[in-house]
Structures are given as C-alpha cells and as structure tokens.
Amino acid sequence: MADLRRGEPRELAMVAASQAVPQGLPGIRPVALSFDGVTHRYGQRTALDQLQLEVTQGQVVALLGPNGAGKSTTISILLGLVRPREGRVEVLGSDPRRAVADGRVGAMLQAGSGVGLPPGVRVAQVLGLVRRLYRRPAPLEWIVERADIGPLLRRRTDRLSGGQAQRVRFAIAIAGGPDILFLDEPTSAMDVESRRGFWTMMRTFGDEGRTVVLATHHLAEADQIADRVIVLNRGRLVADGPSATLKAAVATRRVRFVTDHPDATGLSRLTGVTDVTVCGTGVSLDSLDADATIRDLVAREVHFRDLEVTGAGLEQAFVAVTGCGVAAPPTGGAAAGGAAAGGGG
C-alpha cells in the first residue's frame, strides 16, 4: 500500500526498492527508517557498533536496553542531532535532517533539568508556536485530544506537574502530525497512573498506522506498546522480534537449588524446564512454569535445599533472549538478588 499522505514519485521508487528485498511480508511496506552499518563513538566509548536495522512504516517499535545501551544515540542519529562516524542512516527515504526539516518526524526527547518547556508562557502559546513551525501542522483539536491536554491549555508551563508536562511535551511532539514519532524514555519520571495513560496515548497513535519508535528500559512498557522489540546492549543489536516472543522469554523463571547428586538428564525432564545448568552440587533450571517444576521436584523426591526462584526482569530477559551474560551458577547458599521463593507442595 502506497503512502497515502505523501505520494511523491521518489517515495514510490523507494517503495519499489524495498519490495525487491524479500522480507516475507505481504504487500508493499515503505521503509520508515534504516541503519546500515552505523557506528558511533563519543571519544573512546563506542555508543553504537555496526548497527543494522530497518523499520517499516506503521510499526510500533520499542528500543529496549539498559542505560548506556545506545538507545538515545540511536534516536539522536535518527533525528539528525548526531552524525554517525560510519554508516548510512535514512529516515523516510532521505537524510534524517531532511525529514526533520520537512516536518515529517516528531520527537519527545529526554527532558534535562526542569520540564523541558519554556517558562513563563501558557501551554497554548507553546503549542501555538510549535504548530507555526510546521508547514502543515496537525489540527489543534486533534493534538489536544490525542495528548489529553484540554484542561492544561490555559495553564502556565512552569506550573505543571511532571505527568502533565510530559503530556504537553507529547502534544509538542505530535504537533506536526508526524509520520514517525520518536520517544526517548517518555515515562521515566511518571507515576504508575500517568504511565498507563501515556501508554494508551502512544498506542492510539501507533494504531493509526504511523511509525512509533520508543526507547525505554522498562520491559513492561515495551511489552504494552510495541509490536516489535529491538534489544540493544552496549551499542549492539542483540535481539529483534515481536513483543510476544520477548514476553515468553521473560516468562521464564530461574529455579536454583543445591542437591547432593544432581542428575542433569533427569532434571531436564522436569515439567516446564527448558534449560539445565549443573555446577558441582549447584543446579540452575530455566523453567516456563516454576510452580510446576517445583511440584515435580518434590514428586520425584529430589532432595533439594537453598531453593531460590528468580523472576522476570530485564536482565533475565536479556539472558533468555541472547543466551549470553549468564552469571556463574550458584553454589552452596549463594543467593544473587533472588525474588520470591516458590513453595513446593
């Protein structure tokens, strides 16, 4: 399906080009953004390492990773704020700066000190300014409704709560009616309530067929919003897939205990177990259903002690997804930040 908003010939050519690359996708999906061998360094530190990435239009993508993974650098590059040292980046088929100048992208960046809005003016004035910066701004009512800022329009920007300020910043980000919306850790300073409301906003925006790229280190956020999750770590793309798959990976629990004569083969047959690591008397099981695994352990009369079940966490998700960075299996009573201990019964 051609981009109905801006059917320029150059784009059609680009669409055709992307069609030539077999992607196993039905129909024609224009490329929203692409990274080709992109490397960027800040001094000695490598922020992005040979990043290869393509996002088609209409996807809601989460860039997930711990702090320092390269998420903000990725977004800065996509917005033309940073020029990468190596590689090629295209946004909507052109240079990122071109896309920004054409008003086709919107962004909500991390706020510095304060709320990231100019003080001493009313919300409506800031929004008015930003709309006037675009040649084809989105209608005011549409922005107000999408960002849920109706009651805030008359308020002064320096008298907003954190959550309200973020909604105003979201309104600013969508003021140009962008084809691609970039959000860099938008909910980091929000309480649970505001965060949920914000998720709905982002989701609604994505449901219109626009592209959304969200950088976050909250797994739940990526899970709630994105169709596709891209996991970055130390500037490298470590995993890429639909969020449902990541969710399954995260559903994995790690069951650890100590037993005198561990039998790896026997343990691997326990209910729910997907992986077994044995180190001396220490056993570490990855299980999709920790409760069932433990019931099975008891039923098979495995004499375990120092039982520990660690739950879902981004760290574990990374481990599950990438199969790397696994900490040494615990021996004896070594407990490394265990969460709830599952009861056997």
Binding site: M1, A101, A107, L109, P119, R135, G209
Partner: protein
C-alpha cells in the same frame, strides 16, 4: 526461543494489513491547495513565529521588564541634579546628555544580558532548545533569533530612556539627532546581544546569574557608563577602551559632539561580535559532536 538473533532475517513484523498512514481526522484534504499556501508563507514563517514568541515572552516577564527598564531610568533620575545637569563633560556634551546616553547604553546592556544569560542557560539545560532542533525550525535560527529578540527588546529600552531624558532631564535635540542617536545606540548594542547569548550558551545555569551580574557591573562601571572615562585614572581608561560598553557610548557621544566617528570604535565592537560569535559556534559544534545539542 523464537526471537531471532542478529544476523537472522527478520521473521517478525505484524502481518496485519497496513493501515494507511492516518491523516489527522479533520486535516484539509486538498493537499495541492495547501502547497500553494505554504509557498506563499515562505521559508521565513517559522523564524517569524519563533521571534515573535520570544519577544512576547520577554515583554510578558515583569521581572525582566523591572530590571531592564527600572535600572537605567531610576539611575538617570538619581544621578541627575539641577546643579550638575548643565556641566560640560565631553567636548560640548553636557552631563544631562552624557547621562542619558550612558543610561541608554546601560539599559541596552542590561536588557541584552538578561534576555540571553540566565534565561537562555536554563532553557538550554531544560531540553527546550533541543526540542526546537527537532522541529522544522532551521538549526542556525535558534541562535540568530535569540540575538534578534534581544535586539528587539533593547530598542524600546533605549527609546524609553531618551523619553525620560527629554521629559525630565531637559535634553533638547533636533529630530534627526534623536533618530540618529537612537539608531547608533541600537546598532552598537549588537555586541551586548551576542554577549548575552554567549553567556547563555557557555555558562552553566547556576553560574549564569553571577556572571551576568558581574558583567553588568564590569561593563557598566569600567566602561565609563557611570563615570565619564575622562574622569577615570589612566589605568582604568585603558581598561575602558577594551570594553564594548565604552565604544557603544563613545560613538554616540562623538556623534552628538559633531566629531567624526572613529573607526577604532567600530573595530572593537566588530571584534567582540566576531569573537563571541565564534565562541557560540564552537560550543554548538562540541555539543553536536557529543550528541547533546
């Protein structure tokens, strides 16, 4: 594990039929009509929008107005007394005229330093400046608009001090003299505007206020805006000649005195604009390289 790792072809992407990129519901459908309108609005529309927003913000800020308008006017009235007003200070220029000119200089200095300075430093730290960089507002226009906005607020300050000079100080000039004086004082306040933006760009937020206050004092006092340079010790006169505030005032006084406008004044003022401008550009580049611009 079905999540594919790097190197494998993407196996994902929601297969659901692509929804056409959503038009905001009530956006005008007639694209061609819109294009024609855009062409008429021209490239400068975002610039104009931003400049008027900035000036509006400055004018609505009572703190800003109190400082920029209050200081020079109050000082003028304080320093003017009946028995000194007519004393000749510089060539044929009397104290009442000298004081009006120097308070115009001081007013534009204070206005420009406060328009940039702390406000700009805070604004940049807050991320608002960065937010504007991801709109179609051209990258260079942030700095230029800040300078232009400063210049736009210095003009009314100069005019106001002149009105007070004429009304309360008994300054009598011909119409061309008033216009020429205003134009000259205004044009030569450009280094102040650039200096304000320079401070906002290069000084951290918590240091910006003391720096602005310090500059107001140094440029005001040592530039000869409170004491005529001719009355200063020789060493301080040398210092004064290195400051833009001195040259800003000296040009206006020379014009009123009917002397030729010495090129050295213009050179020093131009050098300030150039050096400070390079400083801003340098800072901009550093931030860009670090990805924090």
């Amino acid at each position: 594990m079905s999540l594919h790792l790097v190197g494998e072809p993407p196996a994902d992407a929601p297969a659901a039929g692509l929804v056409p990129v959503g038009l905001p519901v009530d956006q005008p459908a007639g694209r061609d009509g819109a294009e024609a309108g855009d062409a008429r609005r021209g490239r400068l529309a975002p610039l104009w929008a931003f400049a008027s927003f900035e000036v509006g913000r400055l004018v609505r800020s009572w703190k800003f107005l109190a400082i920029t308008v209050g200081f020079p006017v109050v000082f003028y009235l304080l320093f003017l007394s009946d028995h000194t007003a007519g004393r000749i200070i510089d060539g044929t220029v009397a104290w009442r005229v000298y004081l009006m000119v120097s308070m115009c200089s001081f007013g534009s200095l204070v206005a420009a330093l406060n328009a940039g300075g702390t406000r700009l430093s805070m604004e940049r730290a807050s991320g608002w400046a960065r937010q504007l960089r991801v709109t179609p507002l051209p990258a260079w226009s942030y700095v230029t608009t800040k300078i232009v906005a400063s210049m736009l607020v210095t003009l009314p300050v100069i005019a106001l001090v002149e009105v007070v000079g004429a009304g309360f100080g008994g300054v009598r000039l011909s119409a061309p003299e008033w216009v020429g004086l205003t134009a000259l004082l205004w044009a030569t306040s450009l280094p102040f505007a650039v200096l304000g933006v320079f401070v906002g760009f290069l000084v951290a937020t918590d240091a910006a206020f003391p720096v602005v206050t310090g500059l107001m004092f140094v440029l005001g006092y040592f530039g000869g805006l409170f004491t005529p340079v001719g009355f200063m010790p020789r060493a301080l006169q040398i210092v004064a000649r290195a400051l833009p505030s001195y040259h800003n005032e000296a040009l206006a006084l020379a014009a009123l005195d009917g002397r030729t406008l010495d090129a050295s004044h213009w050179l020093v003022l131009g050098a300030y604009v150039a050096v400070l401008g390079v400083g801003i550009a340098w800072k901009h580049r550093v931030e860009e390289a670090r990805g924090i611009a």
